[in-house]
Symmetry: C2
Subunit: 491 residues, 2 copies
């Protein structure tokens, strides 16, 4: 069937589920036809919006085209597309944020609208309903099982020999759930395909389209310094005996800081060759694997630049022995994260002097991307590290403020804070001790005195916030465009 | 040995670990001698403060006497004693808050100072080092293993036949950790005693002292209405098929609202007989067990009034078949909470219209008790419910505000909010939809229009906070003593 024929089967108000996780493994043909259909319906004066569940962010051919077509009724859980971001910040699309590990079970529990249609990208499909995914898993097994109809994009860009890279496992729901029998990143607990009822496969569209993964900003002095700080801290923890000498599996967030951190860990001679247990496998992991510094990587997606993905596909025999892709309720599962004892490294948009983290909202109101897996990992990690540059916008914004303008990870989930300035080890410290340590070690020089002055303003109490001035950095930024203009006499 | 002789073995700056969880199962003789010793040292001009790890809150004979003696250097994780609260809010004692499930592993990992001395209350001790605890477990197995010296209070108030009530299990640490093999609240996975090296037992003090559990405030119209609202909501979820007809294990927080909720669930004919998997077993559980409405209770402590505890001890044959006490890293374990699929019901100090919860800090600065197990449970629950009266101080405080003054549980962990006014089901709602639902269903009548006005002030963005006015309710309360005086023209 054609993408247009399948798109014609979608009704206004339908709920759709998509394969993929980040731009890896997402459909990108039927959704373009769907956006065109929405625009035609709107031109006729008809309402046409759909509800959308994805693994995480997607490519422009899902979130971009549908946001621009004003065709999104609601969307969950994570996004990073500028047009979708504009739509949800202006309330054109309704958006709700979730820990990524929770989406599959909430769909099964009936807590969220059931997807009527699952749209999956596959590298192979068999007559008896075995669907072999491409470069990500996401929520695919669950939406394939719950949906009435399955649309498949059979994308020949991905080799059929990719089959075997995936480990598909869906736990039973309470009260029948058992342990998830995974005890090291390397183990497999499921099957390499999604088994569906072939009668539900309404149509298959053949495509040959590359992933829409954007290039990452290359590392620079700042991100390299953050990476060095993390790597040196970890090697000192090994020496102190607080991390086992054999090391522990590493989870690393997405983006250029995460790439720089992994790069620095790879270069650090005191850190042994390590395993990755994470959601997104980025370019740096592939480099470290070929350099023999990463021995295995378990993830939910191969979010690789086109050259890196083609490198993997050209050397599939090598990489299939060293990688596995899992559904996000397994890659991000609290049970597994805590059992394996992950060293979890995630990026903060903003931190406060008491150790709380804002991962999602710009100046407390505008959604950036969503919480993603950061909560799944940091809460249950062996050791949870957050990283951020100490300032943004040439120093006009301090990433470290008196009170975060939106809170995603409370003080309890934040053990170590790292900026290019240094490392604050917050374990066992009271709020006022945390503030002193963060100001001394992590805050940019031009903000140290301002934050020390704030701390003196603070009313008595365990956490000495001065409530009237707690958001003064943000108010000052909103009014003057520069947090350095803050004047506490105004509060 | 005498309590005084053992107290004399404690040095300034020592780190101590205590048995017990709430006032149940805590030592209460050696600590009184220790407080006297601290006061004598202070009178001589000598420093004398100790670091303290407990299960949760304790009785006055630990936290009260040592706080009044200014003998606490640091203290973690949870407390509820007025004198200790004053000490930590005035920074006389340093305090850091933790999810209760994490303390044992952080002690083992070396992330926190190692307790040199473990002080345990026992109902029996054998020559070969088997220690049988009394009415709680808490962190006892871990501190007994890590400490160089063990002091025991053999409290004859608790019958030796209590042996068998406890299930002591300590997981291995990563990379050697396996699954915690618990699949229903009723199962036992460990042994009924703590095995210690008898050579570490430095002394045993014999006592005969009741627990120091205070009486709970009895239920009233307000707490009963909250309880009814929770029970009716749960029965409607069963009818809708979103909770299995056989129901799921229940976790319920501590206090009079929690007691009222369990009471209302027990009276609701549409809720089947259920199991409890929680940290604190309160009086209401005992009543429901004898009424045949609770079939089994797994907890970390028997936090019972003296008559209720004596009822249990008088009928131990009955209750030992229906109860088990576990270490807090098992009673609160994320792996188990998510596997069993708990219905988790916890109390909020404050909520905001976007669904965030403050469990700990009064007006953002003063520590009330600590986060306790609420984070362990709500984050991993099948369904997470928070309850609060809609107002406090005769309406001068709205429990629901534009932005919580301290955030312990983010929007992602809060599915249902219940006040005496009604129920807000937040699943799948965007922030603005959550705000509209909470204002309509949960906010007190006199605050509805004020909060609707706030929402209109909100700047564009996914979460329409007005940063300058976000803490206006708290500022107004600090200035005038009544949140109803808020005037947004000032912002």
């Amino acid at each position: 069937m054609s993408a247009e024929e399948l798109a014609a089967l979608v009704n206004n108000d339908d709920v759709l589920g998509f394969s993929g996780f980040t731009a890896a493994g997402c459909p990108k043909a039927i959704t373009i036809a769907l956006a065109e259909r929405a625009e035609k319906e709107h031109a006729k004066g008809n309402p046409f919006k759909v509800g959308m569940f994805t693994g995480a962010s997607t490519g422009d051919s899902i979130d971009g085209v549908l946001a621009r077509a004003h065709a999104i009724k609601f969307r969950s859980p994570y996004q990073s597309n500028q047009d979708l971001r504009n739509a949800l910040n202006s309330h054109d699309a309704s958006y709700f944020d979730l820990h990524l590990s929770e989406l599959q079970q909430y769909l099964r529990y009936g807590f969220l609208p059931r997807p009527r249609i699952a749209i999956l990208e596959a590298c192979d499909v068999t007559d008896d309903g075995k669907v072999y995914l491409t470069s990500a898993v996401g929520i695919s097994p669950t939406i394939a099982r719950l949906a009435d109809m399955i649309f498949i994009e059979l994308n020949h860009y991905h080799p059929k020999t990719l089959a075997g890279m995936h480990d598909i496992y869906e736990p039973a729901d309470p009260p029948f759930r058992r342990e998830i029998p995974l005890y090291s990143p390397k183990e497999r607990i499921g099957v390499p395909y999604i088994q569906v009822d072939p009668a539900k496969i309404v149509g298959i569209v053949e495509t040959n389209l590359p992933n829409e993964v954007g290039a990452f900003t290359p590392a620079d002095d700042l991100t390299n310094q953050i990476g060095e700080n993390v790597a040196n801290f970890l090697s000192s923890e090994i020496k102190a005996g607080r991390i086992p000498a054999s090391f522990l599996p590493v989870q690393s967030g997405v983006g250029n800081v995460a790439n720089a951190v992994l790069g620095a860990m790879g270069s650090n001679k005191d850190i042994p060759t390590f395993c990755i247990y994470t959601e997104v496998i980025q370019d740096s992991v592939i480099d470290l694997m070929q350099a023999g510094r990463v021995s295995f990587a378990s993830g939910c997606s191969l979010t690789l630049s086109t050259p890196a993905l083609e490198n993997v596909y050209d050397n599939l025999d090598f990489f299939k022995q060293k990688m596995v892709l899992r559904p996000q309720e397994i890659s991000n599962n609290p049970e597994i994260v805590r059992r394996l004892g992950l060293i979890s490294i995630n990026t903060a948009l903003e931190a406060d002097i008491f150790g709380n983290i804002n991962s999602t909202h710009i100046v407390g109101t505008k959604m950036m991307n969503g919480i993603g897996g950061s909560g799944d990992f940091c809460r249950n990690a062996y050791l949870s590290i957050f990283t951020a540059p100490s300032t943004a916008k040439n120093g006009k914004i301090s990433s470290i403020v008196p009170m975060v303008s939106h809170l995603d990870h409370s003080e309890h989930s934040v053990k170590i804070l790292v900026t290019e300035q240094g490392v604050a080890d917050l374990r066992g410290l009271s709020p006022i001790q945390r503030a002193e340590t963060i100001i001394a070690n992590c805050v940019a020089p031009e903000y140290k005195d301002i934050l020390r002055k704030y701390l003196q303003l603070g009313q008595k109490g365990h956490t000495p916030q001065h409530i009237a001035a707690a958001l003064s950095f943000h108010n000052t930024f909103n009014k003057t465009g520069d947090m350095r203009n803050v004047n506490f006499d105004n509060y």
